[in-house]
């Protein structure tokens, strides 16, 4: 046993030596990477660690942080009903808009793939524009206005489906579905671009080979040839979709108000803002941030291992 341990350490030592030597040879690599690495550590790595640390404390900026153990998490889960609502809303939004937006991104990228070049580039602009149009989603609050001047109310009343105007953005029953609709409208984002570009790169001769081997229609082509070729882009798109799906807050805040009626449109991020920047309970807010962080990372890992199986 001791022999084994000794050998193990000798090996590690040797490896470290080799690495050090290599590192010395490649000094300039570190110089090149240093500016980015320092900023990245400062604004991405360290904050995550700090957030986890503060989540175990009571901290209100004025006094130094006081260690309270798991108290923040316990009160989050056991006492904070609004947090549970926000978790429920976030998951509802994520589970519906995440996969749907992801599939829509792929579907449209695939459908426009065979169009002539100039039609395709117009189509890409049309589909991608909503996701970069700043806060254009605010316009939906005009479309869904609660009185008879709102377009949706006017249209539905014209058709005789409803006879009094509905308060779309104030009635808790309609808030979430409308937010989901708007989020879906904006969901053809970075992942969509990645899919469009990836589909263009699929080797054409594979389709001809597939045709010879008896691929009958475009659906078979999609499943047997296109999808396996697109795996890296599918993984990238999934990361984008999941990250977006769980960080919903702008749309709900702009459309349903902040706070919304009965907290019916509250998401985890809105809850985080509330405690972090309105009530200055930083420790509690960091606990929310940590939970959100864990949810996102776990979800990403799970989906990635699932997607790796495509076409194998």
């Amino acid at each position: 046993m001791s022999e084994y341990i000794r050998k193990y350490f000798a090996l590690r030592k040797h490896n470290a030596k080799v690495a050090l030597k290599k590192a010395k040879q490649r000094k300039m690599c570190y110089l090149f990477l240093a500016p980015y690495a320092i900023l990245f550590a400062m604004f991405f790595v360290f904050p995550v660690v700090a957030s986890i640390y503060y989540s175990f404390t009571y901290y209100n900026i004025l006094e130094p942080p006081r260690f309270v153990g798991l108290q923040n998490y316990i009160s989050l889960i056991l006492e904070d009903d609004i947090f549970l609502t926000s978790i429920k809303n976030t998951f509802l939004i994520a589970i519906i808009t995440g996969p749907l937006g992801y599939m829509l991104s792929f579907l449209f990228a695939w459908l426009i793939n065979e169009l002539p070049r100039w039609v395709r580039s117009i189509a890409v602009i049309v589909f991608y524009a909503p996701s970069i149009a700043g806060n254009c989603y605010v316009i939906f609050s005009v479309l869904f206005r609660g009185d008879a001047y709102g377009h949706v109310n006017a249209l539905l009343m014209d058709l005789g489906i409803i006879d009094t105007p509905k308060l779309w953005l104030i009635d808790p029953n309609y808030m979430l579905p409308i937010c989901m609709l708007v989020i879906l409208w904006m969901s053809l984002g970075t992942g969509f671009l990645s899919f469009v570009a990836g589909l263009q790169g699929v080797d054409k001769s594979q389709f001809e080979a597939g045709y010879m081997d008896g691929v009958k229609n475009r659906w078979q082509e999609l499943w047997f040839i296109t999808l396996p070729n697109m795996k890296p882009m599918l993984l990238f798109g999934a990361v984008m979709s999941i990250t977006q799906a769980f960080s919903v807050c702008d749309v709900t805040m702009a459309l349903c108000g902040y706070p919304s009626t009965d907290y019916a449109a509250r998401t985890i991020v809105t809850h985080l803002f509330d405690y972090g920047f309105s009530r200055f309970e930083m420790g509690y807010a960091c606990a929310i941030a940590t939970i959100l962080f864990l949810i996102m990372i776990l979800c990403n890992k799970a989906i990635q291992s699932l997607l790796r199986r495509v076409g194998t």
Binding site: K22, A23, R26, C29, F32, L33, P35, Y36, A37, L39, F40, F43, V45, P47, A50, S51, Y54, L111, I112, L115, S121, V124, I125, V126, F127, A129, P130, I132, G134, N135, C136, V138, I139, V142, L143, A148, H151, A154, W185, T190, L193, S194, A197, G198, Q200, K216, R218, P232, F236, V239, M240, I242, F246, S247, V269, L272, M282, A289, I297, Q304
Partner: protein, 299 residues
């Protein structure tokens, strides 16, 4: 003569290409596909068209019943009203515009330089820690900026950068998305190019500046659009509180929340805010798509 015959030959070739249909495609399927795509495209652009339409509507048309979608007598009144309203505020419109342009420009430039330098060594050299670092960057793409917002505020506060432009600009330098896309694109660059430059006596910085950067111009555009999009729309309300340093988007949204009398101006605001990222995207589309082709996450 040879040119003429060549032209004739090409024409025959072209004709053949057009008439030959791809296998596995039916005409009916194609037509259905086109109709479907046009319908979806209409749904997608409708809110944007509606926003532009509202911005061009004169006041009496904004509140007409039943509501209209396109303006009958388009005017630029809302835009000129917007400038009047902005002119009345004690911080001038040009100051807000300068703030946003400054933040966007410096942030994007710095991000492009710093991320490219990092991406260059990560893509082209094998050194201890490089792969691990890139893995960490990929993980950083998996959670949103909101998670780190509170510690970020505390860090910026320690540095004394709260209420300065740097509070927005410097964190934007380190955006993981830019490094990721740049690194993936640079991997496609032939290593022999760099080796040839080395043999000719260039040092690493010269290789980076003279050989690598001119060859990855499509990736520049991609980094620029993502960075501009983030910074242009940045309201910065958490980090900047003195009025003369606020961004354009923040000021415009104040106008938007001014109630029903500002409906027309609010729509004009939407148009002003969305026009910049969309125009940059339209101009750079083909280059962005070229970069995105290498965006895949490999194991």
């Amino acid at each position: 003569m040879s040119k003429k015959s060549k032209n004739a030959k090409e024409q025959v070739y072209k004709k053949k290409l057009i008439t030959r249909r791809k296998p596995n495609r039916s005409v009916a399927g194609d037509i259905a596909l086109y109709i479907f795509l046009v319908l979806v495209a209409l749904v997608m652009v409708f809110p944007i068209i509606y926003a532009v339409g509202s911005a061009l509507k004169p006041l009496d048309e904004l509140f007409r019943f039943p509501p209209t979608i396109l303006p009958q007598h388009p005017t630029f009144d809302n835009f000129s009203d917007l400038f009047v309203t902005m002119g009345k505020s004690w911080v001038t419109f040009s100051r807000y515009l300068f703030n946003t342009v400054f933040i966007t420009f410096v942030g994007t430039l710095g991000h492009l330089l710093i991320a490219s330098m990092g991406a260059f060594v990560l893509a082209k050299y094998d050194f201890p820690g490089g792969k691990t670092f890139f893995k960490i960057v990929t993980v950083a793409m998996m959670f949103t900026g909101y998670v780190t917002q509170i510690p970020n505020y505390l860090i910026l506060n320690k540095l004394g950068w709260i209420d300065t432009y740097w509070a927005i600009i410097v964190p934007a330098f380190a955006s993981p998305m830019g490094l990721f896309l740049m690194k993936q694109f640079m991997e496609g660059l032939p290593t022999s190019l760099i080796e040839a430059a080395k043999i000719d006596g260039a040092n690493e910085w010269q290789v980076f500046r003279r050989i690598v950067m001119p060859n990855v111009k499509p990736a520049w555009m991609t980094l620029i659009i993502f960075s501009v999009q983030g910074l242009w729309n940045n309201r910065a309300s958490m980090y900047i509180y003195s009025e003369e340093k606020k961004t354009l988007v923040f000021a415009l949204q104040q106008i938007q929340s001014g109630g029903i009398a500002r409906t027309g101006q609010g729509a004009a605001v939407l148009v002003v805010v969305m026009i910049v990222p969309i125009i940059i995207f339209i101009l750079a589309e083909s280059q962005i798509l070229e970069t995105m082709a290498s965006s895949g996450l490999k194991d």
